[in-house]
């Protein structure tokens, strides 16, 4: 996976919890169908509008709640990366472990508006609002975390280290397969 992502941004608010993105009824579905219910109540119909390569921008306390693997649903939808003013740390780790780039950017929801094009580079911490012509940088994440994202999350790494059949390595970079393999959480 790339540490750089660029695309049309969708701006959401504060305190978006895991149940708003991955409700209990969707946990009974296979990942492709479950992904169709992300933000089912806070922004009905969004999963029909979002396109592969788009970026989700959120406010404070993004992802409070469950351990259920919401990041894998964003991968399923083709979301290129997550940006938030503040992440719940469990939710942030789930993104890293699913190989989904995530950047903490204070004031992200005022720096970006719905439909802007944003470019984000975790390798040096820089961001740019291509529509508004604004740019800046945030502290770079530790190499240890960047390496996990760059390698597509923890599951491909486990295959590379011999914990899973080596031939699965490439397939596991497909988040859907990885998610099914590791199971679900709560």
């Amino acid at each position: 996976m790339s540490l750089t992502f660029s695309g049309k941004v969708w701006v959401f608010g504060d305190d978006l919890n895991t149940d708003a993105m991955y409700p209990a009824f969707a946990m009974k579905m296979d990942p492709p169908e479950a992904a169709r219910h992300v933000f089912y109540d806070v922004r009905p119909g969004w999963t029909d509008e979002v396109s592969p390569g788009d970026v989700v921008v959120a406010g404070r306390n993004f992802g409070v709640g469950s351990s259920r693997p919401v990041a894998a649903l964003f991968n399923e939808l083709g979301v290129a990366g997550l940006v938030a003013e503040e992440f719940n740390s469990l939710f942030f780790r789930n993104a890293v472990n699913a190989g989904l780039p995530a950047m903490t950017l204070p004031d992200a929801t005022t720096l970006f508006a719905d439909g802007d094009t944003g470019t984000f580079d975790l390798s040096d911490g820089t961001w740019r609002n291509d529509t508004a012509g604004k740019s800046g940088s945030v502290p770079r994440l530790p190499d240890l975390i960047l390496d996990i994202i760059a390698e597509g999350g923890v599951m491909p790494r486990l295959a590379a280290k011999g914990f899973l059949p080596a031939e699965l390595g490439e397939i596991l970079r497909s988040s859907t397969v990885a998610m099914r393999g590791e199971g679900s959480g709560a």
């Binding site: 409070v64 693997p69 789930n94 923890v154 959480g185 709560a186």
Partner: protein
């Protein structure tokens, strides 16, 4: 420089002299717990795992299986446990909600690190354990490698002062704190102080469990004689507890006067900055009352409920559901007559499972309904319909509300 409890445990486990906020550490995990949901999808069997003695499997979220998908997970879990020689396999019948099973079996040990695939794993902080809920991929990874990384967060210290009144429980303490201070994302919570001695272990577990609701990383209690007595009862030996240094650095120190607290309720949506003393809520009717979950399905919680309900009846039109946190809790509550009291009052006692707490099976609430729950989470849609309202309160308040038909605290129905 002094260290907080979490910093001290991390330093020990990472083999470092000291760690502080902002550090990224790689630590060995002492115990890793998998849950049933991990096996319900297309579980991929690993070629090797780190250490079967540092692994446990608990069947809890969806048992007995409410769907074919969940039913498919059971055999995978059994096969995996047998193949890899995992002795700590808590299958249906000796199962329970993972955090209760962890406590009963001494899997959360003072000064050690515990990882589990459920966000309320911070429950283990009651036992002075650095316990974290992690995602399924990460727990799978730890199962294989035996270690993971943490970014050390700053710590907030709660100094508990005074003596907790009988009418107040750990739930009320937590709901007060969540209302007063709000979210704690990317912060650790640490509890101690002279008032801690008046907070029993089951109340500490409730408080530690609910750290996830304010988005905290770890929530950990100081070790003391009350904890030692609990561990002795459960046969836990050979541990090295971790106390905060007197010169530890905190991002904030907050005093809570336990003696001044009264029963609290959180209004629907979130517990953060959204609570009110029950006495000031006004008359709020209810359709369902739920006592259960890792936070409040403990034996003591069922005793409290039974005491409120004994000789009384659940109000017409109200459903009271009671879910013991484990099969062991269920059996002991039955032996002591608590389940009889609850059922005689018109309550429905269910098998042990996470069930209604996460709106997955048994006790799902419909549009327009109001539930008062002692469980862990009151997000919109958490227990079913997004058009249902979920209030959160202590087991005593929930039991009293079931009798009254509206939210009220136990002081109004016990006499």
């Amino acid at each position: 420089m002094g260290m907080t409890i979490i910093e001290k445990i991390f330093a020990r486990k990472a083999g470092l002299d000291a760690v502080g906020p902002g550090d990224t550490v790689v630590v060995d995990i002492d115990m890793t717990v998998l849950i049933d949901l991990q096996f319900a999808t297309m579980w991929m069997e690993p070629l090797k795992i780190h250490d079967p003695d540092k692994l446990a499997i608990v069947m809890d979220h969806a048992v007995p299986a409410p769907s074919l998908k969940d039913a498919a997970g059971g055999p995978r879990a059994r096969k995996f446990a047998a193949q890899f020689g995992i002795e700590r396999f808590y299958d249906v019948g000796r199962h329970g909600i993972c955090h209760q099973v962890i406590a009963e079996n001494g899997l959360a040990r003072p000064g050690e690190v515990l990882a589990c695939t459920d966000s309320h794993t911070c429950a283990g902080g009651a036992y002075n354990t650095a316990a974290r809920g992690l995602g399924p991929a990460e727990v799978y990874s730890i199962m294989c490698t035996g270690s993971t990384w943490f970014q050390v967060a700053p710590t907030v210290r709660y100094e508990l002062d005074g003596v907790m009144p009988d009418s107040v429980s750990g739930k009320d303490v937590f709901l007060h704190i969540a209302d007063a201070y709000g979210d704690a994302a990317n912060l650790n919570l640490e509890y101690g102080g002279v008032g801690l001695a008046s907070v029993p272990m089951h109340d500490r577990r409730t408080i530690a469990t609910q750290g996830a609701e304010v988005s905290a990383d770890f929530s950990t209690f100081e070790p003391d004689e009350v904890l030692t007595a609990f561990l002795d009862e459960h046969g836990v030996t050979g541990y090295h507890s971790a106390s905060a240094d007197s010169d530890a650095t905190y991002v904030d120190v907050r005093h809570v006067d336990l003696a001044a607290l009264e029963p609290y309720v959180a209004k629907p949506g979130t517990v953060s900055n959204n609570g009110v003393p029950v006495s000031r809520l006004g008359r709020q009717r209810i359709d369902q009352a739920f006592i259960g979950s890792c936070a409040n399905g403990q034996l003591e919680d069922l005793a409290i409920a039974a005491n409120v309900l004994r000789g009384k009846s659940v109000a017409p039109g109200v459903r009271l559901l009671v879910t013991p946190a484990s099969q062991a809790v269920y059996r002991e509550a039955m032996r002591r007559g608590y389940l009889q009291d609850i059922a005689d009052a018109g309550g429905v006692v269910t098998n042990s499972t996470c069930g209604a707490c996460f709106g997955y099976h048994m006790g799902v609430v419909g549009p327009g309904e109001v539930c008062v729950t002692s469980s862990t989470r009151n997000f919109t849609g958490r227990m079913g319909s997004t058009e249902a309202e979920i209030f959160m309160a202590s087991p005593a308040t929930v039991a009293a509300s079931a009798v009254a038909g509206y939210i009220t605290d136990a002081r109004s129905v016990t006499a």
